[in-house]
Amino acid sequence: MDFSMIFFILVAALSVGAAVGVVASRVAVHSALFLLVHFVTLAILYITLDAQFLAAAQVIIYAGGIVILILFVIMLIGSQPFTGRAGYRTWVPFAGVALGLLMVAGLAYAIVQTPLMPATLPANAGGVPEELGMFLYTQNILLVELAAVLLLVALLGALLLAKWPKAERIVN
């Protein structure tokens, strides 16, 4: 077992542990912190896959942006403790877990069927921002345009939902 393998297993274990932490935490803040750890471990794995640019993006967008936003919302609405409700069907979580395990078993089985190993070592082109940028802005320009529309939609949406209408303020 070479070093890269050991390193992968360690990071993967940390990643899975953090993922379980997100799901299992009682308090939302803890989940968010576990999520942060999880995102960072993934960024490390991206580097081992020769995707340096995406690793950086991962840290900036997910760890730096999304988790912070989630933490901000938790602070805004207050992390409420778990409140039990009558009529809650207790079988639902178990069904969810069973379904999930079934899914991972099936997927793992399918994935293990054919061993995959890159035939040739990549020329380390993919990770370099320049290559990615050229590819994105020439052959995939439509994606950029679409992403622009996507962000415009998100912007409009946030505006629409965040602005409390005047008439309503009077009612409340």
């Binding site: 050229m134 994606l143 996507l150 409390w164």
Partner: protein, 489 residues
């Protein structure tokens, strides 16, 4: 690098572009509101409608052009333009219905119309997409827009609940979709449909990854078009969203998602038809049957129409099950007629809604035939058409879908579909019974809203619901009289 790759055929996406431009114009015009008095607000729906008309013009113009592609990412073939027209019909009718309705829900109409146009343009991109990444981006764009639009009624808990539920389940479903896309990419090394198709055909694809990929893709798709068992969000969201938005999404979402999946299945995975064909057939049977049975028990008009739209998704799915271009054409016609009749039906609901109420109980239509004969007549036309009674458009829509099924050797599926439409007739008929044969109650005594724009929209819908039933070839004549519109690239 390779600058030859930059030959952009913008024409191919002209309709989508017109919609985006119209959205931006609406947003700019909305700015002039801020001066205390709303100067431009009454004009906004008509500006949006102009955008829709421009896009429709572009689509019709493209029908006469040879098939063109945008960098192997999007295609402008007859099928794509047909889907564009369906979505534009849905958008246009929804805007007409919204003119009076939306301001009662949320005064920020500028943002709402702009969002509606952007969502529609993303849906249209979905109809032209020939690349998994484009499909994903377009799917996410219009889904995000719809999450927001279903929650714009800020004063209503039901609406924000609907948005919340729709968002969480929609994002969950997107996860499945994109994981499926990833596995298909893993199996073939490509995201373009034609390349995936070539890889699969040549036997180089890794089937162990491809099949789970198709299955996961189907789950995500099932959520978007509300196939049973992925439908649980539909009734709540349809009930909670503002009614004109519900009308829009019940039709346009289906059109966009079905269009993309026709392309994925017909172009990328035709060889796997025996596998996904059966999966889809089972889903179709479940969807039609459970949708119809659940609709039988509803007392809220919006929930009833929601379950009915689940059942209709099942009928449309039959066209996809066959895996033939004839099935795609039949589904296209179905979607068009569905746009007219279903938005029409929801349009009636908007007129019957009481201020502040987001829904109409089925008993509220009692005696409508006596108090508002024209409204009741219009509603019955839509309901009979939804039930598939000739000579209305809904009959021919079913006829073509089942025709494609029989042609493809799925006669039993067509038979189950027809029996289901008989179940459907029962609950549509129940509304007609209440309208004409029941005495008016106190609830119905309250006058329904009147809106010239909505009346205009409903008139268009009625004319086409009857007209496409008597002259169904008007539509195929528009698509150059030929069948098999889907370009195989």
């Amino acid at each position: 690098m390779n600058n030859a790759a930059l030959n952009l055929d913008v024409n191919a996406l002209l309709p989508e572009l017109s919609m985006v431009v119209a959205a931006v114009v609406v947003m700019f015009l909305d700015v002039f509101n801020r001066g205390g008095r709303s100067v431009t607000r009454p004009v906004l729906p008509w500006v949006a409608l102009l955008g829709v008309l421009a896009a429709a013009g572009a689509s019709v113009w493209l029908l006469g052009q040879p098939v063109s592609t945008f960098q192997d990412m999007a295609i402008a073939d007859l099928f794509a333009e047909g889907i564009d027209l369906v979505i534009l019909v849905a958008t246009g009718l929804s805007i007409l219905l919204s003119v009076k309705y939306i301001p009662t829900v949320n005064p920020q109409t500028g943002e709402i119309y702009a969002l509606l146009l952007l969502v529609a343009s993303a849906m249209m991109v979905m109809g032209s997409a020939i690349d998994l990444i484009v499909v994903f981006l377009a799917l996410e764009t219009f889904s995000l827009g719809l999450y927001i639009l279903s929650g714009v009624n800020r004063g209503n808990a039901l609406s924000s609940e609907a948005a919340m539920k729709y968002f969480l389940l929609g994002a969950f479903a997107s996860g499945f979709f994109v994981y499926g896309a990833a596995l298909i990419y893993g199996a073939t090394g490509a995201t373009q449909f034609s390349q995936i198709g070539m890889q699969v055909m040549s036997g180089q694809a890794d089937l162990n990854l491809l099949y789970p990929g198709i299955a996961l893709l189907l789950v995500g798709f099932g959520f978007k078009v509300s196939l049973v068992p992925f439908h649980m969000w539909t009734p709540d969201v349809y009930q909670g969203a503002p009614t004109t938005i519900t009308a829009f999404m019940s039709v346009a979402t289906k059109a966009a998602a079905f269009a993309a999946f026709y392309r994925i299945f017909l172009v990328a995975l035709p060889a796997q038809q025996p596998v996904w064909g059966w999966a889809l057939a089972i889903l179709a049977v479940l969807t039609m049957t459970l949708g119809n049975l659940a609709a039988l028990r509803q007392t809220s008009l919006k929930r009833l129409l929601a379950y009915s739209s689940i059942a209709h998704a099942g009928y449309i799915l039959i066209g996809l099950t066959t895996g033939t271009p004839a099935g795609a054409d039949a589904a296209l016609f179905y979607l068009l007629t569905y746009a007219f009749m279903n938005i029409g039906a929801f349009g009636i609901v908007t007129l019957l809604e009481q201020p502040g109420q987001m829904d109409v109980d089925i008993s509220a239509v009692r005696g409508l035939g006596k108090r508002r004969p024209l409204l009741a007549f219009t509603f019955s036309v839509f309901l009979f058409s939804l039930a598939g009674v000739p000579p209305l458009a809904g009959f021919f829509a079913k006829f073509f879908i089942f025709g494609a099924a029989v042609q493809g050797g799925w006669s039993w599926l067509a038979a189950i579909g027809m029996l289901n439409s008989a179940i459907g007739a029962y609950y549509y008929l129940r509304i007609v019974v209440d309208m004409y044969f029941a005495e008016p109650t106190e609830e119905t005594a309250i006058a329904s809203k009147r809106s010239y724009a909505a009346a205009f929209g409903l008139a268009i819908a009625v004319v086409f619901t009857i007209g496409l039933g008597i002259f169904p070839n008007l539509w195929t004549a528009l698509l150059e009289g030929g069948l098999n519109q889907i370009a195989m690239r």
